[in-house]
């Protein structure tokens, strides 16, 4: 094979891999990314049931209730609340009145079925999305961060 031919093979292989990867990335970005919403956004503009999304806000004090493996709590941004159902252990930093992000989808009955629950990492940190949502809703306390 000539030098040119070899180079063509090389470019061909690289081209195939790159275009395959580009196709994978584009379809994956369409199918797998998850949008972030606050309770008010969900109430005003309900997503179709089953669509994956992230819900962020504060845990409503007094709303946490565990029964066996299942736990339910409410996420609020001060104006609206969404009930979250989760089968798992809540993270160490989960606390009533504190920021939380739940990932999952809305069930037909309006509860949010979460398969992941994330809480803020320490007192200096709140999920950025939650902080922004709270700011939008005018519930931002400067001492939170």
């Amino acid at each position: 094979m000539t030098r040119k031919g070899r180079r063509l093979v090389l470019i061909g292989v690289a081209g195939v891999v790159l275009s395959a990867a580009a196709a994978l990335v584009l379809t994956a970005l369409n199918d797998t990314i998850v949008f972030f919403n606050g309770p008010t956004e969900i109430v005003q503009n309900p997503p179709e049931p089953g669509k994956r999304l992230r819900l962020g806000g504060l845990v409503e004090p007094g709303s946490v209730n565990r029964q066996g493996p299942d736990v339910r709590f409410e996420v609020t941004d001060g104006n609206n609340k969404i009930i979250v159902a989760y089968a798992g252990l809540l993270p160490d930093l989960f606390r009533e009145g504190q920021g939380v992000v739940a990932e999952g989808s809305l069930a037909t009955d309006g509860t949010f079925r979460a398969d992941h629950v994330l809480a803020k990492h320490d007192e200096n940190y709140m999920p950025k999305e939650v902080a922004d949502t709270l700011k939008q809703q005018g519930h931002w306390k400067s001492d939170v961060r």
Binding site: R6, A14, V17, L24, T32, R54, G68, D92, P127
Partner: protein
């Protein structure tokens, strides 16, 4: 006083770095040996002064000197000594100081062990290394000074983030930084080669040990971080595709590609331009990782400081070094001489395929990591890109690469024989089919991809040793003969075999622990039992226990199998008083390579019941044994005679006129 000495030492190190960035470089342009030799002294001087600064900060932590702001914010007098020491880098300023310390350690190592380097190359390398040092020392002094005093000094500190009060902090960051920063040497060599406008096989022989060393530290650092997250975060995950993890994974992928392309350059003088580009990209990704983690654009357990000024500073460093080196590359790369020819099916061809797949995989990770940031900056929309994206993009590329791995070492340089190589792999393919079939039968309707991945893993694990088997003529000559041949094999061959085998083990562990883990969650009271994976976990008692700066809520369990008590296991919730923060101390029971993971959830005050989560994780330990084996392979390769510091002189004499 000691803090001021540390601060002053940093300033002196900066002055030395400035000298080292200019004088040897100028000397190299004028071919002045005296000027070039200045770099040796300044590199060692930098090491001394930054070590002094580091020692000063460590002293402030160990003696709980609360007149230093950094200590106040991140330490507490009741903290155990080990965490006082590791706490030095358990915060933004201290971790940047560790970054700088490792940078100057590598610089001094080049000065000390690079005696065989051509003088001009060495001077240029150390000058480039000094430019990086200048940037980071300036960053420390201007935007992240760890020695700032606070007046009046508080009586007590605010304690270290409890998640970091773990032996993991002693190991994970230093290893990771040895990797990240170690790639700066490959970068410095690449830029020096571009400045000189010349590069040859000897260059690759000098770069390879440094890259190999950085790579093996990074491998261990990432694996250690993953294990730490597994047992400390309380939900038993080992990899979250968190942007911060990706930030360390991307330089690892690019560095792995660099290792392999440097091999081609060293043996065959091909892929010169590409190798240079990879060296630049690898370190650029390390810098990008530092930026992502340290700037506060991401929120994560690693982001200590949310400070726009710092982020901007690192962004400028990133832009200058990446932009500058790529511009230099654009100017000079065209002038580099083309290397040896090879057929598409050959060792070189296989290594090129490795590089294509690795860099493409790096790109998919990069897109997934940066896309949410870009989208938010552009439209304000908030999205998250999680595991499903990476499984769908990185996954196929990685599996394709793994299928090709066993073939590589069996192909000859220049022109290989794929059919011959495939014949040498029939037993690996047999083992793979068998394992896949067994997995399919045993899992009974589990995920379909899992037996497939198990088959690939076995193919890689067994196939990794095909080259050794072939070259020692195993079972075809007498055992003594085989042993003699095995001893005579280059260590790099053994290194590659172990590293590739480790890769297969990791895949096996990831597959089994992901596809076949069994999770049970329930509220339990003392005396109650929970069934998981054919075992019975009985809660025997709960209680409180005091530690030095925390209080544990402990639950003790007895694990029974077929009615017999096998072992005891303890899991706890640890409450740290100062920060009012809780961490999970998971209980782990090991069965071979598998583990039972027991963690506690919330406690019901009313009736004393506690939420318990038990997860059976088959073969989970292989996830971390794999990388350890990879690093071991790297270590063996590093000991290869051909890589001993300094290349054989005749090679250099022969190669020099080829300019």
């Amino acid at each position: 006083m000691i803090a001021e000495i540390g601060h002053y030492a940093l300033v002196l190190a900066l002055v030395l770095a400035c000298i080292q960035g200019v004088v040897p470089f100028w000397g190299a342009r004028r071919n002045d040996a005296t000027l070039m030799q200045v770099a040796d002294g300044t590199a060692i001087g930098q090491l001394i002064f930054v070590s002094l600064a580091f020692a000063a900060l460590t002293n402030a932590y160990v003696t709980s000197d609360f007149s230093v702001l950094n200590v106040v914010e991140n330490s507490h007098s009741a903290k155990p000594l080990i965490y006082k020491i590791t706490g030095v880098w358990g915060n933004h300023e201290g971790s940047m100081l560790l970054w700088a310390l490792i940078l100057v350690i590598f610089g001094a190592a080049v000065a000390l062990f690079g005696r065989n380097l051509p003088q001009r190359l060495k001077a240029d390398v150390l000058a480039v290394q000094a430019w990086v040092a200048i940037a980071f020392l300036l960053y420390l002094l201007i935007a992240s000074n760890p020695f700032v005093r606070v007046d009046p000094a508080p009586l007590e500190g605010q304690d270290l983030n409890p998640l970091l009060q773990d032996i993991g902090l002693a190991v994970h960051p230093p290893l990771l930084y040895l990797g990240y920063v170690g790639f700066s040497i490959a970068f410095a060599f690449a830029v020096a080669a571009l400045i000189e406008g010349r590069i040859d096989a000897a260059w690759a022989r000098w770069v390879r040990p440094w890259t190999l060393a950085a790579w093996l530290f990074l491998t261990l650092g990432i694996a250690m971080g993953s294990y730490w997250a597994y047992y400390e975060l309380g939900w038993g995950g080992f990899w979250f595709w968190d942007p911060v993890e990706n930030a360390s994974f991307m330089p690892w992928l690019a560095g792995t590609a660099l290792l392999h392309s440097a091999l081609v350059m060293e043996r065959r003088e091909a892929l010169k331009v590409w190798t240079i580009l990879l060296a630049i990209l690898t370190f650029s990704l390390s810098l990008l990782g530092t930026f992502l983690v340290r700037s506060g654009v991401l929120t994560s357990v690693h982001a200590f400081a949310v400070d726009p000024q710092r982020g901007l500073f690192i962004l400028v460093i990133l832009a200058v070094f990446v932009g500058g080196s790529l511009a230099l590359f654009g100017l000079r790369a065209g002038g580099l001489k083309q290397g040896g020819l090879f057929a598409p099916v050959s060792r070189e061809g296989a290594l090129v395929l490795n590089n294509i797949l690795l860099t493409t995989a790096t790109a998919t990770v990069l897109v997934g990591t940066l896309y949410p940031l870009a989208l938010e900056a552009a439209t304000g929309g908030k999205i998250s890109v999680g595991a499903p994206y990476f499984n769908a993009t990185f996954g196929p590329l990685a599996l394709a690469l793994l299928c090709a791995v066993p073939f590589g070492p069996l192909l000859a340089w220049k022109r290989g024989d794929l059919y011959w190589a495939a014949q040498r792999l029939w037993y690996a393919a047999g083992a793979a089919l068998l394992a896949g079939a067994v997995a399919f039968y045993v899992e009974q309707g589990g995920p379909l991809l899992a037996p497939f991945a198990v088959a690939i893993a076995l193919f890689v694990i067994v196939g990794a040793f095909a080259e050794i088997v072939e070259r020692t003529q195993l079972f075809r000559v007498s055992p003594g003969d085989t042993l003699r041949r095995a001893a005579g094999l280059p260590r790099a061959s053994w290194g590659a075999a172990f590293a590739h085998c480790g890769l297969g083990l990791t895949l096996l562990g990831v597959t089994a622990a992901t596809a076949w883990s069994i999770e049970r969650i329930d509220m339990m009271r003392a005396g109650q039992a929970m069934e998981v994976a054919g075992k019975s976990l009985v809660l025997t008692e709960t209680g409180l226990r005091n530690g030095p700066n925390y209080q544990d809520f402990v639950a003790r369990f007895t694990l029974r199998q077929s009615g017999v008590a096998v072992t005891e296991v303890e899991s706890s919730k640890r409450v740290f008083a100062v920060r009012q923060m809780t961490t999970t101390e998971a209980g782990l029971v090991t069965f071979g390579f598998s583990q039972l993971y027991v963690s506690l959830g919330e406690l019901q005050e009313t009736d004393g019941a506690v939420a318990v989560r038990a997860e059976w994780k088959p073969l989970v330990l292989l996830i971390w044994i794999g990388p350890v084996l990879m690093a071991f392979g790297g270590l063996i390769s590093l000991a290869d005679r051909r890589l001993r510091v300094g290349a054989p002189r005749p090679a250099r004499a022969r190669l020099q006129p080829a300019e």
